[in-house]
């Protein structure tokens, strides 16, 4: 299975290596660097590569490549899933997954890797097994809804994240007011499939700490209420090598809740040299090397709609971009699950104490893209 792991930073330096079988020279990574070079953008590196004697499967997380070396046939998703699990574990342990964090904790990292794989086969990948910690009873769970929407297609995808701190072997059941909404679900292994199938109840003995209990998808038949609307006009003038930009955002179907952390990101065409804009609310930045315009709005005020307008200066002599850039919008709404999913109750069996329970709903924009 997984033979070796190399961690590579964005400069192409290998800063950590681990071998679970005999040692493989790090020169094997040269094939990867070649592909990396060719791809230009790190996102574009093919996850599966072939070399004369090995196969390289890599993931890109937090500006780092996790590159594993494989010698024989293995389901690629098996490796990819595992590598992401490794990254998740680092995140969980160190609160981050950057090179400096990993280098600072190299001994723990090594011990973790040693525990997670034996002879290339996953051994312990659960955070709670790895941590082996016990905490006082109290429970808090949050329903986080992620919303993805464009005028073209919209869907709701959500996760239920749990933070369980209960002693003993509590057997929990959780039910929803409206389980019919759920179109497609996937579970943490602790959830009993059959019980869900027959009764639409989540029954489980939770591991300690934070974990993702369930992810779900709301069928697209149910209309997705997109919480904001966007009015934009971006135009480039043939003469004078300049352009105009005007974006306004307003609330729509927020059910009385405030939209927070509103942020608009625009990938400008290459020809745009600079932006001279005024924002009625929040700040904007334009990075002319990456051509990224970021407008950080913050809270959406329904009385006074945020607006960003101004002119764009263009490179002269270059034909105008034929496609207007699309807008990516991030937002967050507290105390509202846009899917309408509601937790009905949570019961505990098997232990005698009374747990503290809580639930928190959040809506976040997923990949909200407005084509212009």
């Amino acid at each position: 299975m997984i033979h070796s792991l190399f961690l590579i930073n964005h400069l192409g330096d290998i800063f950590l290596e681990k071998h679970w079988k005999s040692v493989i020279s790090r020169s094997v990574c040269d094939y990867f660097f070649e592909a990396r070079e060719k791809a230009v953008d790190p996102e574009n590196v093919p996850p599966v590569l072939q070399t004369p004697h090995h196969y390289l499967i890599s993931i890109y997380r937090g500006k780092l490549f996790f590159l594993s070396v494989i010698q024989t046939e293995v389901p690629p998703l098996f490796v990819i899933e595992f590598l992401h699990r490794v990254a998740d574990t680092f995140q969980d342990y160190f609160g981050g997954c950057s090179e400096s964090v990993i280098s600072d904790n190299v001994v723990i990292v090594y011990e973790l890797l040693e525990e997670m794989l034996d002879n290339g086969f996953p051994l312990a990948t659960e955070s709670n097994v790895l941590k082996e910690m016990i905490r006082p009873p109290n429970i808090l769970r949050s329903v986080v809804n992620t919303l993805t929407g464009t005028t073209v297609s919209a869907e709701i995808q959500g996760v239920i994240e749990a933070c369980v701190k209960l002693s003993g072997m509590p057997d929990l059941t959780m039910s929803f007011m409206n389980p019919r909404l759920l179109d497609d679900v996937s579970f943490h292994p602790c959830v009993r499939f059959r019980r869900w199938e027959s009764e639409r109840i989540l029954s489980f003995i939770p591991p300690d700490g934070n974990f993702t209990l369930m992810t779900y998808h709301i069928s697209s038949q149910n209309l997705v209420a997109i919480p904001v609307y966007v009015k934009q006009s971006i135009s480039f003038f043939e003469a004078g090598s300049c352009g105009r930009l005007d974006i306004t955002i307003g609330p729509k179907q927020t059910m009385g809740k405030t939209v927070e952390d509103l942020k608009v990101t625009v990938h400008m065409p290459k020809a745009v040299l600079n932006a001279n804009l005024t924002a009625s609310q929040g700040n904007y930045t334009y990075d002319f090397t990456t051509k990224l315009l970021v407008w950080d709005i913050g809270k959406l005020n329904p009385q006074k709609l945020p607006n960003l307008r101004g002119s764009l200066s263009m490179q002269t002599g270059v034909p105008n971009p034929e496609e207007n850039p699309s807008l990516n919008i991030d937002l967050k709404i507290q105390q509202l699950a846009i899917s309408g999913l509601k937790v009905s109750r949570l019961d505990m069996y098997g232990e005698t104490y009374k747990p503290f329970k809580g639930v928190k709903y959040v809506t976040k924009a997923g990949k909200f893209q407005v084509r212009t």
């Binding site: 290998i14 005999s22 094997v28 690629p76 190299v106 579970f187 893209q369």
Partner: protein, 871 residues
């Protein structure tokens, strides 16, 4: 610690990288020798001192730094003697790090590594299971051939350990030992065989992994464990599930017959394909194919895993359904696969590849989810291309307009490689769906005035292909392209225009010679591919319009004759001989016109994923589209299913003896117990007498004894009926009665065995024992369930089915020692019926192959039903 690391990495890292880049990539797994750097050397001296001190804290600090060195890929091997001394340290933390070091360097310092062996041998006997396990892990990870016998011994002992965790470790150790010394294979297979019997969910995944690595061809080792593995599957850890599922996929392909085309092949096929195109909703009608219950068991038990959070598990189940399930059941995996598309970029990549392959054969599966494959501008290029591929595969008359609208957006993308791919995709849609060919063609013509070179070039190439498939009204388009000719610089596009001019020169008689004239001017500066097409155009024009073009053609042929490229020289020579009649040219030149201007078949625009289905889905080979090392070919279905009874698990002798012990009933009673259930159920249904969960060993004596008689009659009856070699019915019961019974039996007989399975299942789920009382009601529910299932699965004509099913209980009776494995634990008291093994003739037994297992089917149904009751 961190100071040590940072101190260390100055220059070291760069040096290492340099070294890595200089050395040519090889497969050899020698560690890079970075230890030559003097800085490291000096540094290691003080590490040695620290290790030799008496202070634990100093030693620990030293070990941490050494691990830092290892992580950087720098050599610390000269510290081996100093480190190995600490292997027996009491400090757990220190010990762990020493283990890390040992595993890394033991291979290089074999003699010194031997010093540590006795420590591990001692630890293998430790009362703490984790210490035993970790000792075995390290011992087996030290790749020192001399200790092979010690490892072998340790593995064998650990395989019999009381702790499942230690047994799991031993399963891992098997693979390590095998890669160290393949000669141990036979002995290792013995251990694998033993561990395969293990009932712990912890062990299952690891031992199957060992099986796959050491002896994947020994399918016979799986038979007896097949049902157990199926039933344990849900509770095995995620990684084990992936391995087990892929192994079982292969197994099923060797043991069961195809659910796809069995029986009335023609009708069947038609039904399948029809249903595909019609959203595959309609049930396939009656088919004589009956799925082996073990086959069904596998499908049923893997299905819940589609809800796993682990993407690899979901993919494994999806490929299992793809390769094993009846066609109309495959689509249940769609939703789960689409769910995976919201996962990480790398996951999307693999899943999209698999969907691309699937969507070629079965559009219907993914059509409802077409919006999931819309491209986002933030997607990576390879993701975009895959989505485009899938959208193209899914295009049909109904959705083509939506898809084309999407494509219009994509063509404008700033990612030009992607825009070009989109144009190709439009071309494919245009050829596949005749309704939109014109629309697409017009759209592509519009793109010819696009500013971007690659877009124009790609459009020309695609238009060229389309015009070939649609040989009407191209005059205008060709004229348009001729106008563009001067501005287009991409060679492939220029060549395409020239080819079009030549091919349809009679439709544009005025323009074609003019284009040739222009080409004559620039011939020498063109790319080879353009030159070849120029020669082509010249030849065709010479044949159709020699008056105007004779001189031009000769000029071009002369240029070509002296070209630097031999292909062009050859082509020129050939063309000249062909078109210019002279005494040497012989017969061919008479046919020049027919040769050059023959109508040519249109090119077929196909998916790049068309032939990927030769690889098992979800594999590395599929992903790379080439056979990876160690890829196991997925066997084709056998024409005739091998003996199914190999999967029956033998009842161990003691079990039979145990019957009297538990049930206070006399020996004969316990035999017939086996049947009594049937009777009871029957009674439940028909007459409302007795009934109620008589499975319980403490069932009412009366009903038991009654049914006893009946059932024995019944079974014998059945045997005599179905078996051609009837041994004469021992008791003659009234015909009508037995008939009735038979009928009922078809449904019920299977269930009785399943009962215990239900129990054990729920136990595994941690739900505590299922109340026996629940059994009766759950039975009835499972009854109906089994009915409906067998109906949907196989609506065979009633009589046939009856006889077959009738036979099932029969076999169970006769090959009396066989009982499904699940029974072992929970069912010890009951059902061995000793007396009648000899009743059945050999031939009858073989006739009944494939049938006896049906009880398993109901097993699962049963367990589900029971489960509900518990709650």
């Amino acid at each position: 610690m961190s100071t040590g690391v940072s101190y260390n990495d100055q220059g070291g890292a760069e040096a290492a990288v340099e070294a890595g880049q200089e050395s040519t990539p090889t497969s050899s797994s020698t560690g890079a020798a970075f230890g030559l750097f003097s800085a490291d050397f000096k540094k290691n001296e003080d590490l040695k001192e620290m290790l030799e001190s008496n202070k634990e804290s100093l030693k620990l600090e030293a070990m941490k730094r050494i691990v830092g060195l290892i992580a950087k890929g720098k050599s610390a091997s000269e510290l081996f003697p100093a480190v190995v001394k600490n292997v027996a340290s009491k400090n757990i933390e220190l010990k762990k790090l020493v283990y890390v070091y040992l595993v890394r360097y033991a291979e290089k310092q074999q003699d010194l590594a031997l010093l540590s062996i006795s420590t591990f041998q001692r630890a293998l006997k430790d009362p703490n299971q984790f210490i035993r396990a970790s000792a075995l892990r390290v011992l087996s990870s030290i790749r020192v051939p001399i200790i092979v016998p010690i490892m072998m011994l340790a593995i064998k002992e650990a395989a019999a350990d009381l702790s499942p965790y230690v047994r799991k470790t031993s399963a891992h150790a098997i693979q390590k030992l095998y890669s160290l010394d393949p000669d141990q294979k036979e002995q290792l297979i013995e251990v694998i065989e033993k561990l395969l019997k293990d009932k712990s969910t912890l062990v299952a995944g690891s031992v199957v992994m060992a099986f796959e690595e050491v002896c994947p061809d020994r399918i016979d080792l799986i038979h007896k464990n097949y049902r157990k593995l199926c039933n344990l599957l849900v509770d095995v850890e995620e990684w084990g599930q992936v391995v087990i599922i892929s192994m079982l996929t292969r197994y099923a392909r060797t043991q069961f017959t195809s659910p796809w085309t069995e029986g009335a092949e023609f009708d069947e096929n038609k039904a399948f394909y029809d249903s595909d195109s019609e959203e595959k909703k309609d049930q396939t009608e009656a088919k004589p194919y009956i799925m082996d219950p073990d086959h069904r068991l596998l499908l049923r038990n893997t299905k819940p895993l589609l809800q796993s959070r682990n993407t690899a598990v979901v993919m494994a189940v999806a490929q299992l359904y793809w390769h094993l399930a009846p066609k109309h059941e495959v689509s249940i995996v769609t939703k789960s696969l689409v769910r995976l598309l919201r996962s990480h970029r790398e996951v999307q990549y693999i899943v999209l590849q698999n969907i691309a392959t699937m969507s070629i054969q079965r559009k219907g599966m993914f059509e409802p989810f077409i919006k999931s494959f819309y491209v986002r501008s933030t997607d990576a290029t390879h993701i975009k291309t895959l989505k485009l591929e899938i959208l193209t595969n899914l295009a049909n008359e109904a959705n083509i307009s939506t898809i084309l609208r999407e494509f219009q957006t994509y063509v404008k993308s700033q990612d030009k490689a992607f825009a070009a791919a989109t144009i190709q995709a439009i071309g494919r849609c245009a050829t596949n769906i005749s309704e939109v060919t014109d629309t697409c063609l017009n759209g592509l013509v519009l793109l010819l005035s696009n500013r971007d070179e690659t877009v124009v070039a790609e459009s020309i190439v695609v238009i060229k292909k389309l015009l070939q498939t649609q040989p009407t009204q191209h005059g205008d388009i060709i004229k348009h392209m001729a106008k563009l000719f001067d501005s287009v610089t991409v060679p492939m596009a220029r060549a395409s225009i020239l080819w079009l001019m030549g091919e349809y020169c009679e439709k544009v008689p005025k323009i074609a010679p003019d284009v040739l004239r222009k080409m004559a001017k620039t011939f020498t500066a063109e790319e080879d591919i353009v030159k070849l097409q120029t020669v082509n155009l010249a030849a065709k024009l010479y044949l159709t319009n020699s008056k105007q073009t004779k001189l031009l053609t000769q000029y071009i042929l002369n240029l070509g004759k002296y070209d630097q490229n031999y292909d062009i020289r050859d082509r020129t020579r050939f063309i000249r001989q062909l078109i210019v009649p002279n005494e040497k040219s012989g017969a061919l030149s008479k046919y020049a016109r027919r040769i050059l201007l023959a109508p040519k078949p249109a090119p077929v625009l196909e998916s790049a994923f068309k032939d990927r289905d030769r690889y098992q889905l979800g594999t590395l080979s599929h992903s790379l589209n080439l056979k990876a090392t160690g890829y196991q070919e997925l066997p084709d279905w056998p024409a005739v299913a091998p003996d199914h009874s190999v999967r029956n698990v033998e009842i161990v002798e003691p079990l039979r003896e145990s019957a009297p012990i538990v049930g206070k009933t006399k020996q004969p009673k316990s035999d017939d117990k086996f049947y009594s259930d049937d009777e009871d159920e029957k009674e439940e249904e028909e007459s409302d007498s007795s009934g109620s969960g008589s499975e319980d060993s403490s069932s009412s004596e009366e009903s038991g004894s009654e049914s006893e008689e009946e059932s024995s009659e019944d079974s014998e009856k059945t045997s005599s009926d179905s078996g051609k070699s009837s041994s004469g019915s021992e008791k003659s019961s009234s015909e009508s009665e037995s008939d009735q019974k038979k009928k009922k039996k078809t449904k019920k007989a299977p269930q009785k065995k399943s009962k215990p399975a239900g129990d054990s299942d729920s136990d595994e789920n941690g739900n505590g024992p299922v109340g026996q009382a629940s059994s009766s009601s759950s039975e009835s529910s499972s009854d109906s369930e089994s009915d409906s299932e067998s109906d949907s699965g196989s609506d065979s004509p009633a009589p046939k089915k009856k006889t077959e099913e009738k036979a099932k209980p029969k076999v169970a009776v006769n090959s009396k020692k066989e009982v499904s494995l699940l029974d072992l634990d929970d069912f010890s008291p009951a059902p061995t019926n000793a007396p009648k093994p000899s009743v059945l003739s050999q031939s009858l037994l073989s006739d009944l192959e494939g049938l006896s297992l049906s009880n398993i089917t109901s097993t699962v149904q049963y367990s589900r039903a029971a489960y509900e009751m518990v709650k």
